[in-house]
Each structure stands twice: as C-alpha cells, then as structure tokens.
Symmetry: C2
Subunit: 581 residues, 2 copies
C-alpha cells in the first residue's frame, strides 16, 4: 500500500492519525525554520510540513525536492496554524516523519498550473504533462460523467449496448473512408466505420428493439478546428417508433445529462422549428437561439429606389443589432472587410444606424430617405440605439453570410453566454441535396433516411423538394446530434439508391445485405446519434472539442506526442501486399 | 405510437384493456373456427386470437400471415381458456379487432427457433436472422449486463473512463499490427492499437490515478477458433499500487460480476499459484482446477528398469484418471492416436489400469512389475478403478502434451461442468521468454512489465530466470485476463528494451514519448486487462467467443454477411498513395 489516504481526503476529524500519502510536489516554500510542500494528486492537495530544527536531515531532504517530483510521506495529521479556507484539506497539515522519493522529475517545459505558460504546440507534444493540469482533468472528468449518465439513462429505458465491428466494408457513399489492408485476403481492404449505421439497422431487423453504443467513428476528411479523424458517437436506434417517440426519448436523455452532470433543469419541452424556418430566420440549420437578431426580409421595402444592388438581388436580408448604433466608422469598416473575406464572400455590407435621437444614418443615404429607413427599422424590430445590417444577393449565399454576421455580432456583444443552454429541434430536413459538381443528388442525412409519407408523391416529379423524417438537435449554434426514421422497405430503399445514382448492381454489391434483410421482416425503425465530443464541449461551455479528448490529433491528422502516422517497414508492406507510390 | 405494450408485458391484471401490440409472427395455428398467432418481440410472446365466425375477414387475413411477418394489432386483453404456465403472458390472449401488416417476410433460410436447422455458414451469412433466435439474444444480453456492471463497479471505485486513440503508431514489438494508410500524410501509416498500453501508462503519468476503458483492440494474427482480429478488452490501470492492491481490486470486480449477473457468490479469496507451480502441476499457465488429475513426477520411480524411453527422458509425468480403468483397448488406441497427432505431438502413451480387484495392467508390463506400478499409483493418488496415463520426453513438451490429455479426459468424464466456476490467480510469470527462431528474448507479457525487485540481480547474469510482477486470472482453463506492475523508471525501461534487442535509437524512435514521460515524475503503477469476449463466454458456460459477438468474423478474418474485406476502387488507392501488388 503506497498510501493510506488520497490528497483530497484529510479533514480536521483526522487530526492525530498517522497517515501515508503519495503524489506530486506541486510547489514548496521555506518559511523561517519550516519547509512546506504542497502534495498533489487527482483528488486534491495536502500540505506537508517539515521542521528544520526538529528533523534537519528530513527537512534538508525536502528542500531538495523539485516541482513534479513523485514522493511518498508518512506522518501525523496535525491542525494547521494558518488555515486555508480555499482548500478542502485546508484545516490540516502533515507533520512528516518519513520521506521517500519515488521518482525525480526534470523541470517541465511549461508550468503545471491552471493558467500555464505553455503554448499550444508544446502542450500537444507533452500532452501527458498538459493532462496534469486541473482544468484539463476537469474536462475529461466531465466527459466520463456524461458517458456514464448516458449509459444509465439508456439502460433504464431498455436500450442494450451491442458492439458493432470496426473492420467493415468500404462504401462510396458519404465521406472518405479510412481503409485497412487485409494480410489474409491480399488486395482487399477493410474500412473503418463512419458510423455503425447499417449494423444498427440490422439489429432492429434482428429484433433487438432498442440499441445503443458509445462508439468511435472515423472520417478521412480534411480537418477543421472542430473536426477530428476519429470521433465518438452516442449511437442509438429504436424499432416500432415514430419520429415523436424518438424526439421524446432523446430530449429526455439531454435533460437527464444536464440535470445530473451540470445541475441544470430545462422547463417544458424543447422548442422545435422546421429546417425551412430555421434557414429563413437564422440562415442556419443549427441556430444559436440564446439571442435574437432574427432575419428580416427587406426585399419589398428596399425595392424600386434605384439602388441597383438591392433591386437586382434575389434576397435582401436585415438584422437588428441591439445597442450598436454608436459603432465607429473604423469598427464598421473592419466588419465589412471581415465579411468580404473569401471565406464568407459577401460583396458588401449596408448598415443603418438607428440613432438615439430618432434619426437614421445609413451607408445608403443616397437611395433611401429617413422614412424608408424607418420602415426597415420597424420591420426588423430595431429600436433607437440599434444598428441594422443588410446583406443582399443570392438567397442561399446571403443567408449563410448573414448567419456568420449574426453569430459574430452575438459573440461581440456578449450574447452567447457560455453558461446558458438553448436546445432546439430542427425538423423536416430535405431528403436530398443537389451536388452541382457531380450533377447528381446526395442524401442530406444518409441514403437510409425515409422520406415523409406526405411527400412520397414528389419522389419522381420533384425529388429535390421531398422532405425527410430527419431531425437534428441544435444547441447554442452547435449540432449536438441528429437522426431519422429509416426506410424499412426494400423497394423504397432501392428507389432511393437509384435517385442517388447507383445502378441496381452497385446497390446490391454495396448494400445487398441490408436490402436482403429488409425482405425477411424488417420493423419500422429510426434512431439518432449524438457527437459525444461536441456534446461534452457544449456542456462544458466551450467551442473546442479538442480540449475534451485525451489524446487529440492536430489539423494535419497527426498525433505529435507519439509521432503518428509514421513510415512502416518494408517487411510489413510486403506482407500486406501493398506498395507506397 | 406503434404499440402500447411489449409482447412480454401483459398479465391477468390487464384483462379488459384495449391494447396495441407489434412484433413478428412466430407461428400460427388454426383450431376449429379459431386462428391463434404467437406474436414475438425481444420481450416475449403474446398469443393473438382471431375468430372466424365473429370476424371472418380479419381471421382470413390472419391465416395468410407467414412466419416472421411484421404486424401491428389492436385488441382486447381477455382471459385465456387454456392457460400456458410456461409463458409469462400465458394467462391472457388478445382478441384482435384490427390487424396491420407492417412488413411481409420471405421464408427464412433456417428456422428462427432455439434449436435451429441452419448450419454455421448459412447462419453467419444471415447473421441478422440468427440474431433473432432467443439463445443468441440471451448471449448478447449477458454481454451488455457484464459491461454495464463492470462500469458500475469501476466507477464506484474511482476509475475514470478515458478514451484513448484508435489511430496510433505501428510498433514492431508484439503481434502484427493492422495499419491504416494516411491520405494527408502520404507514405505514412497509422496502426490500430493491439491494446491502449502506452496510453494508459501516460494517463498514470498524468495523474489520472485510476483509469478504465472497455475498448476494441486489434491483432493481425492467423486466426484460431477462439481468436478474432478485433476483440474487446476491459482495460484498467492504477497508480500508487502494488500487485496486491491490483489483485484485490479485480478479484472484487469478478466477484461483483458473478454476483450481479449470475447470482453466484465466491466464498473467500481466489486461490493463487505461481507460474512455476502451475506449469509443474497442470502443464498450463491457465489450469482448469474444476477437477484434479494433478501431474505426478514419475521420473525417479520409473528409472532404472531398462525402459529406455523413460530412462532417456528428461521428464516422466503421470496423471490418475478417476474411474477409467475399464477403458477398452479401442478407446485407449484412439486416445493414443489423438495424442500422437502433429498438433499435440507425443511419441507414445503409456497407461496403467488400476483394476478394481487391486491388480494392475499396463502397456509396459514387460518392464514394470506390480510393485512398481503400485508405487506409481500411490504417487499419483490413483485408486482401484482408476487409469494412469504416463507421458515422457522433453520437460516443456511433455507438460504441454499432458495438459492436453488432462483437459480431454476432464471433458470426456464430464468433470468440466459448465455451471461450475473456479478462478485461479497465476503469479510470478517469467519476464522474458527465449525465441529460438530469432535467437533473442521476447517479453512474455510486454516490454513495460517490471521485474520482481528481488530478481533485479539476475537481469544481467541470467535474464531468462528473472520473474516479473505479472499475473493472470485463469478460470476453467481459460485466461480471463492478466496484467503487471509496470516499469516507471527510464533507466530500467531502457535496459528492458536493450534486453529485447532494441538499439537505443530504435527504443527512442518507437517509445521515446514514454521514456521521456518517465523523466517528468512518473508514479509507480500497474494494471490489468480482461478479455471481455472470453469473460462473457466463460460466464455463459461456453468455449466459443464467437457466439458472444454480434457480428463476428470467420477464420479467414472475413465478415461473410457484409462481404468484407473487399477490393476498393483505384481512385481511393491513388488518393492514399498506395498500390496493391
């Protein structure tokens, strides 16, 4: 036994006990004839006291301890002369009688403190040291709690945890697969799953009724800040359900998680909105509804005043930014430059200041008089002191640009509070989206999503207008998860593959097992998957999923700590029957 | 809502209620003017009743339902005229008023019954139908329960579930890696983890103190019946512990699992044995101690009687097989042939019948008289009516062969009872094993295992004799799991790599991150991993792990249901920068 107690455990009630502790030296200080060492572990910090006069050898030994040395001490729990109310163990200290050095430590390349002096790259390289820091440990503990409470909720609702395979078959649909060459089957490859989609559907065909899994998924995509090549899904599926059953079940899960993990209660049902509404009002299928600034259609009000830009635009959209009428010219220029960057791509930005004295001042005063501007203010709900931004152009693009601007302004004005949580169900996603580049339809969710029965009639005539029984749960501008009611009929599934450009032979070759399964008694079913990384980050009030992953990869898909990926030797390649170019 | 109740739910108390049920047609039968349909789901079976006279349309419709059709019915819960005490719902039936066909079904290629008529290959191809069978569902439910109870136990003992990466670095040590070509880093590869070993050690360096994960691991080995290319581990690690702490913690886990999942209580501590003892007494490091037949060293007793085979043998080992003295010549010949097969490789088998009349009859009567044979019987504990088997030759080989024979006889005599569970800790494994083929040492557990401190002195002089702080938990002849106290000192870890034939440069290149981590304050630590597949199979009283995996692969590493692995297209290969030979 290396220790009798942890470093977060001892209280006044333990005074007088002989204890053994172990941990890391957080820091030490010499005060007159005393040396005090803060001993740290996952559970807390305990103060060790060494008296130079009473035991000089031991005290001199303690004075040689560096930061992050690993030690074991034996000693007596005594009352602390100057108590530390900030520390749960602040009422006591250990009068040390024995000190064992378990392992020395070099000076860490950055300080192991809540606010460290280490840059991102250095901390990534020494991730095992960064993980010692309290804020990082807290994030991973939050993740552990969320996963465990997810399991408890789903188990109590009759879901079975069933493991699906990681070495599966590559399919052309969706994102790019990571593949794994097979040594036993030369020239052939497994693929790592982008999700266990077809397997969970087969489990429904098998009668498992309610399935879940917290499971790693893989996508070989070019990475952005909030993407990782491997990520974790809370993956669920239910049989004999309609959309409403699924929304209720998983709204219950999110409420349970916030309640148990964060102590936050959501009153009433989560609000709902169709995809069409969300796009019209927020220009996003995952709107942040912690703040207002809803889109206003200014097309009619702005037309016919000889402002060609608006007259020729498909869409003219405004938002009222509260209390921003006194933004300076410099601020407005900066915002204009920002929105004109290629990443966002607006051609220009029109603003209207709704001055506190009731007058208006805009960047288009040449075309619009006070009365016109006043009508815009009324339509967009702008009050004196607010600022109206107007963007125009192609409908889809303008919505996207205005969404970016709205989010930026929300952030800038402090309206996106990290401790406020606003869920929103977004419903009735389109079944298909048109891919200009390849001249064909893509499945918006995935090829297994069921069209809404009332739109069946449009499948042949106007497939682009067919809505799906597909839903997302958005929160604070983030997509926490989504799902759909699935097709469970072979003929409809075959028609869907046809719409997506598969020949019958290709459909059979890739998904024959699923099509066949549907002929042996497939129940109606549907499901949903949450992105665990993103859910936990959102619950933690953060944008960055990387902080909530123990060993994340960088934007080039590299683990810089272990230096992976790396070259492998010729023998391995030969055994696998492959060559690198 | 597709259903108001499941098919396992209705009881006499529900009589008089209108209900909606959904499920699969298990079977139907016509009895006079009635048609009865057994409706099945995961939860049970409910009998549906249709009356030809009262509602002929509906009843005729019901008579058209085939096996495995998916239907929904509405109706009244009524008392059953002939109750079925074998069925939890056997007191009631549903007087159906509405019948909806949700999906038709082709006749399944094998019967969906507890005893199916489907062969192994056919069932593998239609795994989604095999998974409908009750015994198969039970196995996966057992697995779900074991995983969940494992989490509960570990959580209540302060373990944190931390996910480690799946895309890691290939290392030459251990089994063959599966590798994943990186598109973003052309010519480089990730490897899939054989275990999260180094990551869990880094988490200990990070101060996580207690870690666990139920995690998929991958080994590209030639497959045997009880091996899968992907398998699941209950992976655990603890800091500031000695071997005794770990044994206690995980003995507690196994007791908790048997108690909660199977209702079986183990009294007292699990027995323990050193590796050396296990090999001497059972010829195995995972002995089945449900039955006796311990090895007896007959070398001294059998020497000097002119039987050259024994005289020249390094080892002469006997076992007493209870009650087998009347085995026929044919039976003994069959056993002799069996043990001489190349897979086992004995050169011959000597037997001694301890007849019920007190006489002895052996296959070596020419060399050994009654007195000699009697001395063998006494030494091996054979009584009248028993049979003694004797094998001889090289010590290691003879032990292995005798282990096979012992297990076969145990099975044959019904001594390996599927509902009896006998755990055994095997301790003090050797640190290294000599690899004749490559003329070097291999780590018996893995390169991170700590030698026993009392054997430190042998590392330079006789490395083959160094024992490790390594332990396995065996049960019923199966290795459930194993682990070790790890090295946490950089110098010792470097020395270990040297013993294993790494140059310092190779060690640094492959495991530099771990060696470096040890310099920044690594605590003493150790851990253990259980094979979940094998644990669950053992708890289920079965030898075959494949039955406990939802979608297993066959002996060629193929998933015959989805047909993976498979060829991928040229575009994919090109993007990855690889070519197949």
């Amino acid at each position: 036994m290396y220790r009798s107690h942890t470093n977060g455990e001892l209280r006044a009630a333990h005074i007088g006990q002989e204890v053994t502790l172990a941990g890391w030296v957080q820091k030490s200080r010499d005060l007159g004839g005393m040396t005090f060492v803060d001993l740290r572990d996952r559970y807390g910090i305990t103060q060790l006291a060494f008296n130079l006069e009473e035991n000089s050898d031991l005290c001199l030994q303690a004075r040689k301890l560096g930061r992050e040395f690993v030690i074991q001490v034996k000693g007596l729990v005594i009352e602390r002369s100057s108590k530390n109310a900030n520390l749960p163990t602040g009422e006591i200290e250990i009068k040390v009688s024995e000190l064992n050095l378990l392992n020395a430590a070099k000076t860490p390349p950055f300080t192991i403190e809540d606010d460290t002096d280490g840059g991102e790259e250095l901390r990534a390289q020494y991730r095992y040291l960064d993980l010692r820091r309290n804020p990082v440990q807290q994030k991973l503990r939050l993740r552990n709690q969320v996963a465990l409470e997810t399991r408890k909720y789903l188990d109590s609702n009759g879901f079975l945890d069933v493991e699906t395979p990681y070495l599966i078959k590559s399919t052309p649909e969706g994102a790019r697969d990571f593949v794994v060459p097979s040594r036993m089957n030369p020239g052939e490859f497994y693929a790592l799953p982008q999700s266990p989609q077809t397997f969970k559907q087969l489990l429904m065909v098998s009668g498992f009724d309610r399935y879940y899994q917290i499971v790693k998924c893989f996508r070989d995509e070019d990475l952005r800040a909030d993407r990782q090549p491997e990520f974790t899904q809370i993956d669920c599926e239910m049989a004999f359900v309609e959309q409403e059953d699924i929304l209720n079940m998983f709204e219950g899960l999110i409420k349970h998680l916030f309640q148990t993990v964060r102590g936050i209660t959501f009153e009433g049902n989560f609000p709902r909105m169709t995809y069409a509404e969300a796009m019209a009002i927020y220009g996003s299928d995952k709107p942040d509804i912690r703040f207002d600034m809803k889109f206003t259609d200014l097309k009619a009000l702005s037309s016919g005043k000889n402002f060609q830009v608006f007259d020729n635009a498909e869409a003219v959209i405004g938002i009222a930014v509260p209390g921003a009428s006194e933004y300076t010219r410099k601020q407005l220029d900066e915002i204009t430059d920002w929105i004109k960057r290629p990443q966002i791509g607006a051609l220009g930005l029109v603003y209207v200041k709704c001055n506190l004295d009731g007058t208006f001042k805009s960047s288009v005063d040449k075309f619009y008089d006070e009365a016109a501007l006043k009508s815009w203010a009324e339509a967009s709900g702008a009050k004196a002191g607010d600022l109206i931004f107007v963007l125009s152009g192609d409908l889809d693009k303008t919505r996207k640009q205005m969404n970016e601007l709205r989010l930026r302004m929300g952030t800038e004005l402090g309206l996106r509070k990290p401790d406020e949580f606003k869920p929103l169900w977004v419903l009735d996603f389109p079944l298909l989206e048109w891919d200009e580049e390849h001249g064909r339809y893509h499945a918006m969710h995935h090829p297994f999503t069921s069209p809404k029965p009332e739109d069946f009639g449009l499948i042949d005539s106007e497939p682009g207008k067919v809505r799906a029984n597909a839903y997302d749960l958005a929160m604070n501008g983030v997509e926490l998860g989504g799902g759909s009611i699935r097709i469970h009929d072979r003929a409809l599934q075959s028609r869907m593959f046809e719409l997506l450009g598969f020949t019958p032979e290709q459909a059979q070759e890739q998904f024959g097992f699923l099509l066949n399964a549907f002929e042996y008694g497939a129940p109606p079913h549907g499901g949903l998957a949450f992105g665990l990384d993103r859910l936990v980050a959102t619950m933690g009030g953060s944008d960055s999923i990387r902080d909530y992953i123990a060993f994340p990869k960088n934007n080039s898909g590299r683990d810089v700590m272990i230096d992976a990926p790396s070259q492998i030797d010729e023998v391995q390649l030969k055994e696998l029957g492959i060559k690198t170019n």
